[in-house]
Symmetry: C2
Amino acid sequence: MAALARITHKAHLPFPASTTTTTPSKPRAARICMSLQENGPSLAVVGVTGAVGQEFLSVLSDRDFPYRSIKMLASKRSAGKHMTFQDRDYVVEELKVDSFEGVDIALFSAGGSISKEFGPIAVEKGTIVVDNSSAFRMVEGVPLVIPEVNPEAMEGVRLGTGKGALIANPNCSTIICLMAATPLHRSAKVIRMVVSTYQAASGAGAAAMEELELQTREVLEGKPPTCKIFGQQYAFNLFSHNAPVLSNGYNEEEMKLVKETRKIWNDSNVKVTATCIRVPVMRAHAESVNLQFENPLDEETAKDILKNAPGVVVIDDRAANHFPTPLEVSNKDDVAVGRIRRDVSQDGNYGLDIFVCGDQIRKGAALNAVQIAELLL
Amino acid sequence: MAALARITHKAHLPFPASTTTTTPSKPRAARICMSLQENGPSLAVVGVTGAVGQEFLSVLSDRDFPYRSIKMLASKRSAGKHMTFQDRDYVVEELKVDSFEGVDIALFSAGGSISKEFGPIAVEKGTIVVDNSSAFRMVEGVPLVIPEVNPEAMEGVRLGTGKGALIANPNCSTIICLMAATPLHRSAKVIRMVVSTYQAASGAGAAAMEELELQTREVLEGKPPTCKIFGQQYAFNLFSHNAPVLSNGYNEEEMKLVKETRKIWNDSNVKVTATCIRVPVMRAHAESVNLQFENPLDEETAKDILKNAPGVVVIDDRAANHFPTPLEVSNKDDVAVGRIRRDVSQDGNYGLDIFVCGDQIRKGAALNAVQIAELLL
């Protein structure tokens, strides 16, 4: 991580959180006692040196997730590195076929091909895998879960049965969008959704965040920008999401929003279109979401519904022009929603426009995965 | 303008063009001869020291706009400054009631209140005013013109009649959106349009661009950012457009897209919704546009239509993941369109998603205004 990543406690710095807690008010010692306990499950974190892997640890710690042991797993390249977690020293181990012996829950975030190879091996050993990659999301029978939205999809997956299982963590854009759209959907049934995203560098990993920082310095110094990750200038620019473009003209990121929404809502009829764009922001995504409903839903009712939705915070001060921003939700658990207004392009109260922001690494990845694991306890 | 603004010839620098030409291949002397000529109209540029004012000069020069004289007008604060235009020295004059004596065409970009005060005074003197502010856009009888879209709206406005007139330049977001949407509208009739914008700093003026640059330096140095223009951090962040929010929850920028589209298309039934967002980009806007048509329009036909549309360039290479970016259109005249695809959320060929980028200062303001003036010649 670049130099600036170390000073993340300053609100104006848009760089990733370290593994230290973001809630320093809780006494640290008390948390360690609660977390490390004989009757907790044994954990493994796969891809522990990555941006999401590091955030897994941060979230586990913040939420006092109980565990009797934790394995730090990564590629051969990172094996042997030392790291501190809750004041204890750990050595990163190389991910291998026998890594999951005795592991109850494994949190995976090491890319799709690692998940495809090692996910089934872990399940075979009786481990419940919470996978942050896209490898198994659309596989029938694999629950795709946002705990606030569809916890019922995990019914039947339990610890202590000796039976392993795969549970998929949805794509970050899908999670952030559906955290706000679902409560409205439950009330008035969304029939169509038009999404435009403003996605942060973090979605492409820690190296992408470093490159954005480096490029920005270079451009400000009048130098040509280093373009290793994306192949083009990112600083003071934006571009269509770097995911491969499919034959229908949508990129994979956009089709995740289309397909995952259907699976999570268990509604094959919901119509979704999306345009996914990367913007020069560090770690929180924003999304402009246009909703069409089957039943009427007025603006005030929608605001009330969102104010009472778990994991959602409404920031919607029209007079002060204060609405959600990526910076404001960075390192935060809640997804923020604002610009809640009746869509003037639709008749009556059958449409709403909203603007949503959420921390990509936290609720968009690590937090959601740990919340899934909490449902197993 | 900040230090970096001077080195705009480097492609990776996202800062505004100076008044020097961006097409150095044309011999400079030839252009001066063509531009400054006895039988050309007399011009005035109001707000000449601003970002758009400077770009007026650049565009007039690039396009060999003929003139027999040109007055540089600005506020008292800027009066007396010297500036060079086409190798001649000019002194900036204070804008006054008698400034328009003998002026045939005045290009205004000094804000709405200046336009409201001095626009009618100029018209009274027989001047044709091309106004870049929002002051007169929605006034009945005032043509609101994108030359490639609705030149017919200017019928009856002519030079040499001694009769003054007001012509309004549309809002930058509207111009950039409609440059791409109109050719498709002409073919299949747009009935509804959902727009999400990614707007550059330049829309808020040169000072906003400087602040974005300054803030970015500050954040990279670990300092708190200077927040004078927008009141919040812009560097590595984005936020809902700073225009005032109206009672319907839309901000003024969004309602411009809604209302100006209806006026320009002369279609009071077209339904438009918009969410306008400022992103940390210097001088070109991007827009994600979802279109619903009355008649079917397939993807390939749409591409062909756009390829043949005046002032539009198609950048749509799916294999190379190469689509329009703000940086690529900066200092360019053409609006770029890409991500042209059938909307999977609509049945048949009744919907398309597109992504549009255009230089906010150029086609979004100065170029469009000069093109309007060219229609008068």
